[in-house]
């Protein structure tokens, strides 16, 4: 039962299969087994939010899920946002508002913000600030992030 198992997930619309020991975290499976290193790993205990991905349409910490638990799930990662060379609208707004510096937190910020905007209609600025506190940024001071998410939310985009 500690032996490796086959795990099949749909990542950004593509079916991918890999082997995982039960103790392998989803974050490591995405990065090391599937080669999707856009999802970042900071603390690996749920605090920093850098590893946030969408699991069946909702944001979750990939460092707090086992890869075997994701078998059969639909995963979206930051790699799925851009369309070829064209950045996702929220990515463009992050650029416009200087919502990133080193970029380490950015994958988690984007996936967290998209979930927030999709599931909370009429977000207030206070709700954006509280919601984005789910991800730690040590560079920007958050102002640009809040502005980018606010403009995205006000655009009626989902």
């Amino acid at each position: 039962m500690t032996a490796k198992r086959s795990v099949t997930v749909t990542v950004n619309g593509e079916t991918r299969t890999g082997e995982a020991e039960p103790r392998m975290l989803l974050s490591d499976f995405l990065r090391d087994t599937l080669g999707l290193t856009g999802t970042h790993v900071g603390c690996e205990h749920g605090i920093c939010g850098a590893c946030t991905v969408h699991v069946d349409g909702e944001a979750a910490r990939s460092c707090l899920m086992l890869a075997v638990q994701a078998d059969g799930a639909e995963i979206e990662t930051v790699e799925g946002l851009a369309d070829g060379e064209t950045l996702h609208r929220l990515q463009q707004l992050f650029s416009k508002h200087r919502a990133l510096q080193c970029g380490f937190c950015t994958p988690g910020m984007l996936m967290t913000a998209l979930d927030l905007v999709r599931h909370r209609p009429n977000l207030t600025e206070a709700e954006i600030r509280s919601g984005m506190a789910a991800v730690l940024c040590r560079c920007t001071g958050y102002e640009g992030i809040v502005h980018a998410v606010a403009e995205y939310a006000s655009g009626g985009e989902r």
């Binding site: 039962m1 103790r23 909702e58 509280s130």
Partner: protein, 290 residues
């Protein structure tokens, strides 16, 4: 890899899960949302030999309106509780408190049963269970026990659950007509564990307090219910003096400790301040107020 090796089982029925739990010995652990257990695995603070993942047991998830009570299955996600219109209407205290549990992406996975079974002293769900005298429905291969909140939460991270027992549901009494509820909390940052949080529910009839429930998290080794504070409100008109007396009783009965986040004395003050906020909020929402 961060977590230690373990045997992993993902049963699909409750009976299968209870058999695994009974046969795997005391080192086995149940995996629900994983939002407390997986960090402990990653730190190797927890080294279970066997993990029994109950996420695939369909009968453990769901919100059922059973007349006077609302029965919430153990693996019901905190996110599902926060978005449930039924919970908002029938147990508004739980609904409001859930927004204070960590962050949205953590509530996506975290479960009511996991929070109650984990019994973190700063956790919101156990405080709501204590305030409303919820019933924990616990099942093992040996049978079922129904444990009232007062006998369930024993100490820091310690409950009345036996090693072969699983929490399968929590039953909350529905809010009576005309009653009001409010939850107030202060933490260092949004989403952090509470320095102090207070759950209050007041029923007012003919201008007098007919029922009062007050409990807190973060200010004792387990969620505390404050009978003295409730007594200070009962039969009063719920005016400022009665509320002040209740807040004083909350401060006096709190049992906080010093830690890096706050001193015990400060937590005691916060308990009174959050009680004031929660009681004023509950009173404002109660019908029949004087």
């Amino acid at each position: 890899m961060k977590p230690p090796r373990f045997d992993y089982h993902a049963p699909e029925s409750l009976d299968e899960a209870l058999d695994l739990l009974a046969d795997s010995g005391p080192d086995a652990r149940i995996l629900a949302g994983g939002q407390s257990l997986v960090p402990a695995l990653n730190f190797r603070l927890a080294r279970p030999s066997v993990l029994i993942d109950i996420n695939g047991v369909a009968e453990l998830a769901g919100i059922e309106d059973a007349g006077e009570r609302l029965v919430i299955g153990a693996t019901t996600r905190q996110r599902a509780i926060e978005t449930s219109e039924t919970v908002a209407r029938r147990v508004p205290l739980l609904h409001e408190a859930t927004r204070y549990v960590a962050h949205l992406p953590i509530r996506t996975r975290g479960t009511l049963g996991g929070s109650v079974a984990n019994a973190d002293p700063a956790a919101e769900d156990p405080a709501v269970a204590a305030a409303l005298e919820a019933t924990m429905v616990c099942r093992s291969r040996r049978g079922e026990r129904r444990i009232a909140a007062a006998g369930f939460f024993i100490d820091v991270l310690t409950t009345a659950l036996e090693p072969d027992e699983m929490l399968i549901a929590v039953e909350f009494p529905g809010i009576p007509d005309g009653a009001g509820a409010a939850f107030a909390e202060i933490s260092r940052r949004d989403g952090d564990f509470a320095l102090a949080g207070v759950a209050a529910q007041i029923a007012i009839s003919n201008g007098r307090v007919a029922d009062a429930r007050i409990a807190a998290c973060g200010v004792g080794p387990a969620p505390l219910r404050f009978r003295d504070a409730e007594d200070a409100l009962l039969d009063s008109a719920c005016g400022p003096e009665a509320i002040e007396a209740a807040c004083d009783a909350v401060a006096a009965s709190s049992d906080p400790h010093d830690d890096v986040h706050a001193s015990a004395a400060y937590r005691r003050q916060l308990a009174a301040a959050m009680a004031r906020r929660a009681l004023n909020g509950a009173r404002a929402r109660a019908g029949g107020a004087a």
